[in-house]
Each structure stands twice: as C-alpha cells, then as structure tokens.
Symmetry: C2
Subunit: 518 residues, 2 copies
C-alpha cells in the first residue's frame, strides 16, 4: 500500500534494466495459456502425484510465481485482459444485461474484441515481431474479431470452447481455423475425439515448434501465444497418455500438455533461442471444480472457476528465460496477466502508446531481480461488478457469490465440499458496509476471517476502501461486447467451408439479449 | 491389492539390497519428527510463500514422499507407533473408556509405553547404536516410561505438550529433562516464552548437532530422534524469526525449524557423515486447523489433526541420503511411520525379533529404487475404532467423525470451511453397511465420492472389506495404556527437582478414568 515504494522501484528500474541484462536484442515472447488448469495441478505447485516433469523442470530453471492472478474467473474476459493489459470492464469483455454475471463468447455471441482496443500482438507487430496464436482464441469468432485482424500473423486453432452439443443441428461443431479459414471441425474427421482421445494437443504443439523453427530461420523476433484447451471439459488427451495418469482423464490431458511444454522448451534450446526468449506458463482461470473428475485442483485455495475467491482467479505462474532470469527461484511479486503487455514492451524497448490506460504494470525488474517487488493492487471483477481487491497480503471482499441455488440443485457446485458462512454465499451478497478481510499470504485458503473488531481490520479496511474509491472514480467503462446473442452468427458457414464442401445453413437472424445465469 | 506383487518385490528386495548399495557400514538414522506441522506447510509441498529453503533443499537432494501417513491423528499414539512399528491398538497407546476417542498423554496420564513393547531404539541399541531423543517424548512421563528406560542413551527435552495452564497450581509447568532428571521447566527462567519467543528450538538444534559431532568422534553408528514441538500451539520461535514470516507466528516457528533442519544436514556434511546417514523428515499428524492462525496448512487435504481424513493423517515426508538414494525424485510408494522400524533394521542388517508383529513394512528398496513400489494397506484408526482403510489409490471410510457439536459451539472446528454432507459428520457415524469410497490419488481432497452404483465401487469395496476383515481377525489388542488419569502423577516433583530446589507438592492420589471428549 505504500505507493512511494512503487515509484521508487520504477525509478530504480531504469537503472537496473540495462540492455546488458538480457543481451540487447528484442527478446522473443512465448505465452503458454492453459484452459481451466488449476493452481494445484502442477507438481511444482504441490500436486501430490507429481505428474508434470516438464513444468517442474521449467520451474527449476525459472522463476515460480505463486501469486499470479487471472483478470477474470472465466475464459473470454481473462484472455481479452491478457492481450489488452486492461480489465474486462475497460476492454468491453463483459455484459451489463444483469449485475455481476460471468459472460463469455459462446458460439451465439455477436460481439468480440473491439477495433478500438490495442492488443499486445498489434504493438509487437508494429515493432517488427512475427506473432502467432496456436490454440483457443475466444475473443470473438466472427471474421472481424479473428486474430489476423488483431495483430497476429498466423492462427491455428478454434475460436470457441469445444463443448457441445455436437449435433450440427442446434449448434454447429466448433470450427478449427488456419488463419482466416476453417480447415475442419472438432469432433469430425480431422480432430476426432472418440472417448476423450485426440491428437489435437499434439497438433498444437507441432504448430508451435514449427513456428519457432521458422523464426529461427528468418531471424525475426516473435510472439507465440500457445493456448491449448484440453483441460477444459470435456477433457481429452493423446492416446499415449490414456490410462497413464493417477488423476484420470483430466490427468492424462495434463500429461499431454506437460509434454507439449517440454517440446516447446526443447525446440527453443535446439534452435539456440532460449537465451533470448521469455516464456511464461499460466492458465486463464482456476480449475473448474464443477467439472468434478473432469476438473483439476486449486490446491489449498477456496472454490474455483466462476468465482472471485482465490481458487477462481489465482493461477499457476512460471517464467523461464535461462541465463537472464535466475533459475530455481520464487518471487513473492503479485502478478496479473495484464502485466504481460507492459512488461514485454519494456523488455522489447517499445514505448507504450500515449493515452492507453492499462491495468497492468511493467514488472521486468522483479523477474531480473527476484528480491525486488512492487506494491500494487489487484481488482477482482465478475462481469461489471467489483467483487474484491487484493493489496499487500490483504484481500477484501466487497461482494460474494459462490454457487447459485439453481446450479446447486443439479449438483453443479463451484465450491464442492467448501462452505464458509456469509462468504461462499448462494446469492449475490453486498458486504460493502462491512467487508470481509483475509490475509491471503498467511491464509491463502481464505479460511480465517480477520475480525472486524481487530486493529488490523480497522487500519487496513479504510486504506483498501480508499484504493477502491480511487479505482472506481478513475474507471471509464467500455461499451459491453457480450450483451447480444444470435443463433445466426454461429459457425454454420465460416470462411473456408465452401472449399471443404462443409457449409451448414444458418437459421434466420434473431438477435436477443444473452442470458447469463450466474 | 495384488498381494502377489508385494511378495515378489520382497523377494526382489533381497537381491537388490546389496551392501554395495549403501556402503556396507550400518548407516546412521536421523528421524526429524515435527509437531502438528501440516502436509501443506513446506515449500516443496506447495506452500505458496515458500518459506522453507532448507527443507526444499532436502527434497531437491532427496526423495519426496507425498503419501506418508502418520499412524494416528494425534501426538502420543502417532509417536508410539513410529517407535514400535505397530498400530496404537497393538502397542497400547489408546483408551477403551469410550468408542473411537483420541487419547494421548497429558500430564495427568498414569500410563505410558509398556515394557513389553520393543522400540526401534532398543533394537538399534542391541546392535551397537548410540541413540538420543532431542525434543518432545510423549510416550509417558513417569520415570519408567522415560527414554533411557526404552533404549535411548540420552534425552534432552520435555515428555509432555507445552500447553497450559501454566500456573504451577492446578498444573505444574512442563518439565524439561536431561536424561532422567528435570533441568528446568517451560515458561520459567531457562526456557522462557514471553510473547511466543523462545530459544528452545535453537537449543534442540544445538543438542542435535553436538550429538552428531560426538558420534563422528567416537565412530559409533547412531540413531537421533529430533522432535521439536514449536509448531504445536502455543507456537514459538527464536527472536530472529519474529515478524519475518508472511504466515505470522506459526510461520516464524516453521522458519526456525527449517533453519534447524539445515543446521543438522550441514553438521552431517561437515563431519563426513552424510553418505552414511539416512535422514527422514515428517510430522506426528496433520496441521491443527482448530488452532486457526496458530495452526498450519494441510494443503488441499480434507480437515486436520484429530480426524482420519487425509488432512489429519497424511503428513510431510522427505528422505535424504546423498549418494545412496536418488536426488530430486518423488516416490509414489505409500509409507507409514511404522515402516521406519523394519526399514531401518533392514538397512542396518539387523534381524527382526521373532514373534514381533509389526504393522510396518521394510521399504528400503523403494528408496534405493524409486521406480519400485510395494502394494500395501494402511489402516486408519481413532483410538480403538478402525475408521478407514487405504489400499492402492482407494480410501474407504467405515466410520466418520469430524468436529463434535460441543466443540463447534465454541468455534473449535477440525475442518474449518470444509463441509461434506454425510462425511464431515458432527457425530460418529457408522458407514460399514454402505462405506464411503474415494480415489485419493485422483482426489486427495476427498471431495468426489465414488458412487456406490458405479462398477468401480462394486469391484473395489468388497476387496477392501475383505482386507479389513482379515486385519480385524488377526488383530490382538494390547492392554490400553491411556485409560487412567490422576492429578498426583503430574510433574509436581520429578527427579532432579530437589537439586534445583523446585519441587512442588502433589495433591493426594485420586485415580479416575480419563475423560476423552472426542
């Protein structure tokens, strides 16, 4: 909470962050962003079965970040925030159809990433980088929203989530794109998923390693955004991992991803690129505990995906840059995905555009010098509702909402086995007049409320509320992109379907306000 | 559950476990047993603050055991089982005053470890080892129960828990012994605890390193049982750690212990003993979540101390023996503390006494060759009641009992924030007719019950019930040692008090059945 130290450290940054520190050339960037992978799913984060040897190696050779926050407790807004460096309420990836709803980009969503938004890919492209998305996009599937229209040079993957129905009648099967054209569909011949088995993660890994080899050959700096989705239900894995995990289908998917991580790091090594490439591994949100045995683990953290408790928003974080950032260390710096944009630009020596309001901070120094850390606040939103704030070791819940009653009734629980009276509430509860305070360093499980009669509470809460007030007063909300739905915009007949002879007939357009039930 | 593979591996053991494997000389043994330290309290087990650099180094240089089980969910029976290799029901460390109660050795306990029991210390002493206890004993505090009467050559520490009252009126302050004589009392001049600050862990560390130096000088094989108690509430730490942990007082105690672990490993190195010393680090039971901010973390595991859920009985486990057991590996072998006795004897080449029934298994091979593992069952008891059994990945709850209503009323919760209907029950519930099954490899949090209509359930449960039946039929219960209490047996006037001029006057003897309320 001492803003002074933040400015002092930023000042210090300019002297410490010399070109010498990382070789001088603009470094390459690889962001590995998983889907619904939880904080507790990696051996190096404590998963008892230790089934992630490559990620554990990445941590041994890099910097572990136990306090990495996603910017939303679910997929699309989290991903949009990572690429814009801005909160979903600022970049438009929310809905105001109702209060505090988790909106995303299903197939019938009309919106997507606005042209007005400046993406990390665009800024790096302008600086001469070659950029690729390999995997899930999820920033809108209509043509104007696709990656090549937003700073990426190539794209292989699907724009949507791969859940059903898969009948090509009520919903077309998910399209897989190469650049701006569909090249096939999930659950069809190219990307078959009989019994949760698929070669798709391996294909995404091969795309990534090909891209790296091509960059080694053309000697251009690059940004690779590797976003496999196999740990999102329904999970899938390559046949070689089936039955190999003690953790069932989900564990097999993790093993498959872990092998992919290893292959990408190896490819960087093999092409002499590791000493000039910053790799970061993370996940879009906490594990979806509602998916039960198809969902992962958030370790000791409270609840999971869809919630603003630690289990919903604190995600794995590992940075890797051999020879530049110190091996085998852990940073206590609090990170958010929104810090990637300013941090990467700082490392690449690219100036930030004027008038661009960011929620992320440039944190290169805390990587190069893990003994440093910068004070900062993290604002935790659900849709258009500010639910909580973290600052220093403290987390203040202004609103709470765990599993709504209609989902509990069908045993879809965001917090299975976890119950905190007045905290894991079944309905939206406004605590603003008497907010709930935790010390999430001492108590990452959000188990022991700090009493509102304690001197800590009386000192800390007014400070945090002042930060909230300042944040809210300075916030300019974007036009919400996730309000309108229309069955006609689904991928019945995406570009490329004619060549494949696989166009479906869309229904008549019938735009309506999307219904976000929680 | 394949007993065949167990026998096959035992057979394989004799061929693989050659003297060559560990140098031939009888190795030294160091058991570091913490008090109420939880599975999730170590950086290498996922604690987000990573405040245990020495333990993390021990894991990097040794073998991590994510599936190490204590033999009881609380102190005295757990410790008695470790030293005898036998379940508390077999070695007498239980009470049958009532069903399934957690009994231990408070100051007014009449009983202690029976002379008929054969302790690891006795077997090693007969084989020429020099043995020491440094720290908490807890196997009975009357003279006949003290360590020197049970195979140890020296003793420095307290026989009891260091909680209050500390008034020397209703209860004498806890005595600290050297060998058979009191040398002071906790909370008095020698071992002062103003504000949770004490040099006591450092004293225990210095005792341990002195013992190691003396053994290096006399060249005798040794067994050191290092049992500091500073993470048991009320926690304490050396002044240098006060305010240094993000985890509060409890974290400071952990930092102090971590430094002690480092000092002991360094002392072994400095004296050229590391290549002939097997060190194991563990804890007597899960973290006491009821102690709130004075208690630790069981990571993702369910509940804590006092319960037979994973959080109560699964504890940290690290083995260290540089050059002999492989560095930086993780074993999926399921261990119990009761395995230490047969494993150590196997490594020392000492034959087990005939007619000694053990619940532990010799597991040296799985340490020397972490790719091996031996199938085994673990029977989880609360006092005289068999609560659950683990075999392979499965855990079957026959009875459940979490926090009793009278403790919940005063907010003393063994499972704060955790509620599993029909599992974390407030009363003793007998599930024998329809037991609760979990896969604790896939689901270590015991969150997702395996449906009793599933084929897995229908296959596994009869097999586990058969194992239970076999176990129960072959079990010969010992005479219970923890039934009788008497205020007169407290440490009013222990041996040595005359020399110190600090004898107190005991009340008249009034033996009565102890009341174990849960």
């Amino acid at each position: 909470m001492l803003r002074k130290s933040y400015f002092w450290l930023l000042f210090l940054a300019s002297s410490l962050l010399s070109e010498e520190a990382y070789g001088g050339n603009p470094p390459n960037f690889v962001v590995m962003l998983m889907d619904d992978l939880g904080w507790g799913d990696l051996g190096c984060f404590g998963e008892p079965g230790r089934e992630t040897p490559q990620l554990d190696r990445m941590a041994r050779e890099g910097v572990l970040v136990p306090a990495m926050y996603a910017s939303a407790p679910l997929c699309s807004p989290s991903r949009a925030a990572l690429l814009t460096g801005r909160l979903p309420v600022r970049n438009g990836f929310y809905s105001d159809n109702d209060l505090g709803r988790n909106a995303y980009t299903p197939q019938d969503i009309v919106g997507g990433i606005a042209d007005e938004e400046t993406l990390l890919s665009e800024l790096l492209q302008q600086a001469g980088y070659v950029s690729a998305v390999v995997g899930k996009w999820h920033l809108g599937h209509q043509e104007k929203f696709l990656p090549l229209q937003h700073g990426f040079d190539s794209y292989f993957g699907s724009p949507n989530c791969h859940f059903g129905p898969y009948d090509d009648v009520t919903t077309p099967n998910i399209a897989v794109f190469r650049d701006n054209k569909m090249v096939g569909r999930y659950y069809e011949k190219e990307f078959d998923f009989p019994g949760h088995v698929s070669n798709y993660t391996r294909l995404l890994t091969e795309e990534a390693t090909s891209f790296i080899r091509a960059r080694a050959a053309d000697a251009k700096p690059f940004f690779l955004f590797w976003t496999p989705d196999s740990t999102h239900a329904p999970t899938y894995a390559d046949v070689q991992y089936v039955g190999k995990s003690g953790r069932g289908r989900y564990g097999s998917a993790v093993q498959d991803l872990d092998a992919g991580v290893g292959a990408i790091l190896d490819e960087l090594d093999r092409n002499g690129l590791s000493n000039n490439t910053l790799v970061v591994f993370s996940s879009d949100n906490g594990a979806a505990l509602v998916s039960k045995t198809q969902g992962g683990s958030n370790g000791p953290l409270l609840c999971g995906k869809q919630t603003t408790f630690e289990g919903g928003m604190r995600v794995p974080g590992i940075f890797w840059w051999p020879g530049t950032i110190p091996a085998g260390t852990t940073t206590d710096q609090v990170w958010t995905h929104m810090d990637f944009l300013p941090t990467f630009l700082e490392l690449a020596g690219v100036a930030l555009p004027q008038n661009l309001t960011l929620d992320g901070l440039p944190l290169s120094n805390t990587l190069l010098h893990p003994e440093l850390h910068i004070s900062r606040s993290v604002f935790l939103y659900r849709g258009n509702l500010l639910m909580a704030v973290r600052d220093g070791p403290y987390k203040l819940h202004l609103w709470t909402w765990a599993t709504p009653p209609h989902l509990l009734e069908i045993d879809d629980d965001f917090c299975p086995g976890q119950r905190q009276p007045n905290v894991t509430t079944y309905n939206q509860v406004n605590h603003t007049d008497n907010p709930i305070l935790y010390d999430v360093v001492a108590d990452p499980a959000e188990r022991y409320q700090i009493s509102n009669t304690s001197s800590v509470y009386k000192t800390v809460v007014p400070q945090l509320l002042a930060l909230v007030e300042q944040h809210v007063n300075n916030l300019q909300l974007a036009e919400p992109q996730l309000n309108w739905c229309d069955d006609a915009v689904m991928h019945w007949a995406p570009p490329g379907c004619e060549e494949l002879g696989r166009c479906l007939t869309p229904p008549p357009s019938a735009p309506h306000l999307c219904y976000w039930d929680h």
